[in-house]
């Protein structure tokens, strides 16, 4: 029948990572601490049977399996190159901003100071506001939150 079989990569890779982290043995809190999100996946996986955790088999003939493998290889190459390109671009952008600011520092110190000025009157978008996401945060509310401004005021008093 279909002799060859290639595991589908995506989800199985995540599972294998988690399995690497999860080790059964003597429990010592200091060494066996995983973060909350990993623990969540570990708990979910422990409820699944072993056969479900196996990577899915692709039932194709040998010729098509080789084609599939080649396409996956090429896709990996393309993704890696795109990522590399993006990273290079970002690096260049960052460097050019750094250069421009350095230039400004020497040529026009007043302008440099003005460019780095942070108004504290609340007209700017507050940076400590949480980004809107699909799911609630792991730590939903910070009860003892004190804004930076009042902190300074208290220090003055």
């Amino acid at each position: 029948m279909f002799k060859g079989s290639i595991p589908v990569n995506g989800s199985s890779r995540i599972i294998s990572n988690v399995i690497n982290v999860f080790t059964r043995g003597k429990r010592t809190k200091a060494t066996n601490v995983v973060n909350a999100s990993t623990q969540k996946i570990v708990n979910q996986l422990s409820a699944l049977s072993a056969s479900r955790k196996q990577p899915k088999l692709i039932r194709l003939c040998q010729e098509d399996l080789i084609k599939h493998q080649t396409i996956m290889n090429a896709w990996r190459v393309v993704q890696r190159r795109n990522e590399q390109k993006r990273n290079n671009q970002l690096k260049k952008q960052y460097q050019s901003i750094v250069n421009a600011m350095e230039d400004l520092k020497t040529s026009h110190p007043a302008l440099y100071k003005f460019a780095n000025y942070k108004p504290k009157d609340g007209t700017r978008f507050p940076l400590d506001l949480r980004m809107p996401t699909d799911f609630p945060p792991n730590k939903p509310w910070v009860y003892d939150y004190v804004p930076a401004e009042t902190n300074e005021k208290r220090a003055k008093q």
Binding site: M1, F2, K3, G4, L60, C61, Q62, E63, D64, L65, I66, K67, H68, Q69, T70, I71, N73, A74, W75, V77, V78, R81, N82
Partner: protein
Amino acid sequence: MSHSLRNHRVGTLIKNFQRFESTGVSSNPKHIKEVWSNFQIRPTSLKIDNTEIKKGIFNKVDENRGPLSISEVAQRLTYHSPNEIDETFKQAYEILQNKANETYTRIQSLEKKLNQTDNELEQLNLKNTLDKLKIEAEKENPEVLYNVNYNSSDSLDKSHPVYRYYLKDKWQNQGLMLTMQRLETLHVIPDTLPTFEPSVEVKVKFPHNKDPEFGNWITPGDILPAFAVEQPPTISIQEFDRIDGQDLYTIVLVNPDTPDLVKNSFSTTLHYGLTNVSLNNVDNIIGSEKLLENQDSIIFKPYLPILPEKNAGKYQRACLWVFKQTKELTDLSKIEREDFNIRSFSKLNDLIPVGAHVWRQHFDRSVPSIREKYGLGKGRVFHRVRGTTPVPNPKKDKKKEEENPKEE
């Protein structure tokens, strides 16, 4: 996943490929082009031999006939390839081949450099990098992938680093683990040698057997009948690293379960000894041909099958050890078969253990006839329950008897 959605996904995949194609690859006139179909600078062993299968991969699988790799007719006729797999494959092939083209341009420049230098260290470094580059250039070649996945490992060209790379991978994932598990559970380690780091794949078969159960490569730990091991084995020693020239190996077959009545224990016996066997990546099988050609130079102890006597333990282990030599060895023929000490033997001759194999044997009905063939006599029959006290040495008693014969 619904059909339309799947089609859409395939479409975006192709678009992404096209976008990459338009920007990513530079066409340098100096570069080698279409290297994977160029067999002037590459060996033909990187090709798929079966032209029909090759057609199925590089052109479309024939809709009316179905893929050739499926042997069952009904299954073959109902087979459908995934949508647009051939179009996507063509683009993927081009991307990977362009990458290989660049690697081969580097390979060619390095080969030029290699021809120009006389420094040995530099030559070695260059050869190592060349091997790495060749693996990188051919690893993703679909023809190589096909050969590795669906051809038998015996038919692969071991002189090319990419095949050795894949064979090593295969061995490390199965053969190596199996061998080590058998060596440890059967206590070959540490009963013969303390431990070792395997670097070669050792396979053993007894080709005089017509029954495929005993005639094929045997699995480590198998229990074999005496008739199956009557003639000397064929041993395959696969090195995965490149060997320049030839390497020398010593191979010994020992039985650590020979009953020692005087000590009420067991001793080790040497059953087969080969030395100064020169092998390389391709010429890696010690078969009857090689043995006949240089009989006197490599055999230091001729083959004697392990023929356990009746009730001499549950089974006896045949431990085959492969050593790499650091120098050429001489004068090993003086070594005695009985009370062979493999640890001191390897230490004395500076031997490095690189591979091992094990099988088991016990008394069966073919033992007496084979003992007769090798002139070993009838063989003792032990009591079924092993005694707790040592038995006095029968040879010494005989001598005493000769000195003062009993009066009758």
